[in-house]
């Protein structure tokens, strides 16, 4: 009984603490013409943020191959995690990456075959399929639990960020910037939501049509 009591007290205090000293940052991302930019990844690093304890996200760590496309187009993954690659098509896929963060190759024979790959370095992993040139996706391996991906409307909310000045990094595969990433400083208030509208200078997706 005392254990349950202690748990409730600790949970209550933790909740209060986070409520009192943490806020949300709601990003609204658009390109230079004002159109929403989806699939951008926002990562937030609070001040004196050292190495994050192991953390999880609430989305599945999975890159599907379905209808000759990868889904999702961008996946945020905590460093050190495994990602599965289920083949939902009846055709074969030959998934590969030459990105320094994780070079690998997976031969996926047929429907429902799945393999897993561990991503143990922070960075961007560009995925391709050698059989279908137009299949493209990106895995963003991150070392902060404060991360979110922009939805179709260009909205991304990072929740429970400790109050104070924080460093914000915004990455998109087609962002015109060194390493396709820009860095901002944002002041997070002790409670409530900070709204950040950011203009991103993106280029059109590269021509990835294959002849065969």
């Amino acid at each position: 009984m005392w254990r349950l009591y202690a748990f409730v007290v600790i949970a209550f205090l933790t909740l209060r603490a986070s409520a009192a000293h943490a806020g949300d940052i709601a990003f609204s991302l658009s390109n230079m013409r004002g159109a929403a930019v989806s699939d951008a990844v926002v990562t937030v690093y609070p001040q004196d943020f050292g190495r994050a304890e192991s953390f999880k996200f609430d989305w599945p760590l999975e890159v599907d191959q379905k209808n000759l496309q990868f889904a999702p187009f961008v996946l945020i993954v905590p460093v050190g995690s495994g990602v599965s690659f289920p083949n939902r098509d009846t055709v074969r896929h030959h998934v590969y990456s030459f990105s320094p963060a994780k070079p690998f190759e997976l031969k996926l024979y047929s429907r429902d075959e799945s393999r897993s790959v561990r991503f143990d370095k922070v960075g961007v992993v560009a995925l391709g399929c050698n059989i279908h040139d137009n299949m493209v996706a990106f895995i963003k391996v991150v070392d902060t639990p404060y991360a979110a991906k922009a939805d179709a409307a260009g909205l991304a909310t990072v929740r429970g960020v400790p109050a104070g000045m924080v460093q914000v990094r915004i990455w998109h595969p087609y962002l015109k910037a060194p390493n396709n990433e820009i860095v901002r400083a944002v002041m997070v208030s002790a409670s409530g939501v900070v709204r950040e509208a950011v203009k991103l200078d993106t280029r059109a997706a590269p021509d990835r049509r294959g002849a065969y």
Binding site: R33, T90, K107, A204
Partner: protein, 424 residues
Amino acid sequence: MSRSALTGAVALAGGLILLLAGPAQAQVDLLSPGVFSGMIDARLSASDGETSWTDGGFGKTRYGGAGGGEIGRLQIASADIVWRPHLAWDLTAYVDAAAQPGQKHGVDLSEAFLLYKPLPRPDGLRYQARVGMLYPPVSMENDGPAWTPTRTITPSAINSWIGEEVKTLSAEVTIGRRWADQDMSLTSAVFMGDDTSGTLLSWRGWALHDVRSTAFGDFPIPQVPLEHKPVFATSQGPDSQSVDEIDGRPGYYLNAEWRTPAAITVNAFYYDNGGDRTTFVNRNWTWDTKFWNLGVRFTPDDRTEILAQAMTGRTVTGFNTPRGWRVDASFDAAYLMASRKLGPGLITGRVDAFDVRDATFQTLDDNAERGWAITADYKHPISDRLTWLVEALHVHSDHPSRAYVGLAQRQAQTTLQTALRLTF
């Protein structure tokens, strides 16, 4: 049966047997459901104007009118089964069996080749090889399953001609390199076959249609009174066998493509079938055909695509005379096309311009023409497997040799079509 197609089929079958004779490996997959795909195109059309070239007339579109009256048609415009067996992870075959109404054979081969494509190297360098009967990399429109145009029902004049008269038995190598934001590649090939390329362009002129040449099929040449074709009266049959090898001499083509960081792709293609102008076999002449094609693709944003191609070339056949070669025609065509996503759909508009300039014997056998076309399409996805398209196509052309059969040399034609494409 055509010699070239037979050679291609034998080479492909030989390759398959050699591979299968090796130790059975899990990577070989010949018959699982995943190696078969295909497309069926159900078409409703209404056309006015002259009789279509596909029915032996001079009409520029696939479906013609009745010389003044309108004709409506409902048909399966094409049905394709594509077999892509895996012989190894980096070696596949591609065989497209096509059924197209009005063709000599109910089912015929559209393309059949082996593709060797190893993984790119870590530094971004890649290479691939194709061997067999295939379309050279000219069309920027025909990027759908079974070489279908994906934005419109009817491809441009340029790619309609590629579809009917530029199919080769190639040994083709591509070397390319990808960087983060750009890609360059160089393709070169030697080929047999395609010796009749230029026949339709000279004697019929340009056309806009989605009929593809096949290994064993042929296309009708508009027939005119024999006094206009004295040399060819007995040596040239009424049909052109598009893929055939006649003179035993190889041709070649080259293509360079640059996908620039600025969302613009440019390519330059050169083709020379190396034809021996004076050879004929099975009542088909060898045409010596050379052409350049330049292509540009521009995507100013994620919803808009601009495509353009321009082609210029020359085709020559028959014996040389004091007044020049029997047929010596230069040809040019270009199109500009814009597509824009509209909700789930896609709207496309295209303008085509084309001409043939005849350098010899114009008073006897005038192969000149000038023309233009305008095309508008709307494409709407109904489900993952079902796509609906509707198209209006209007062609104007001035073709003097129509007068040989009592037609006005200037003709206009409109086709309204709707297609339901099922892919599987």
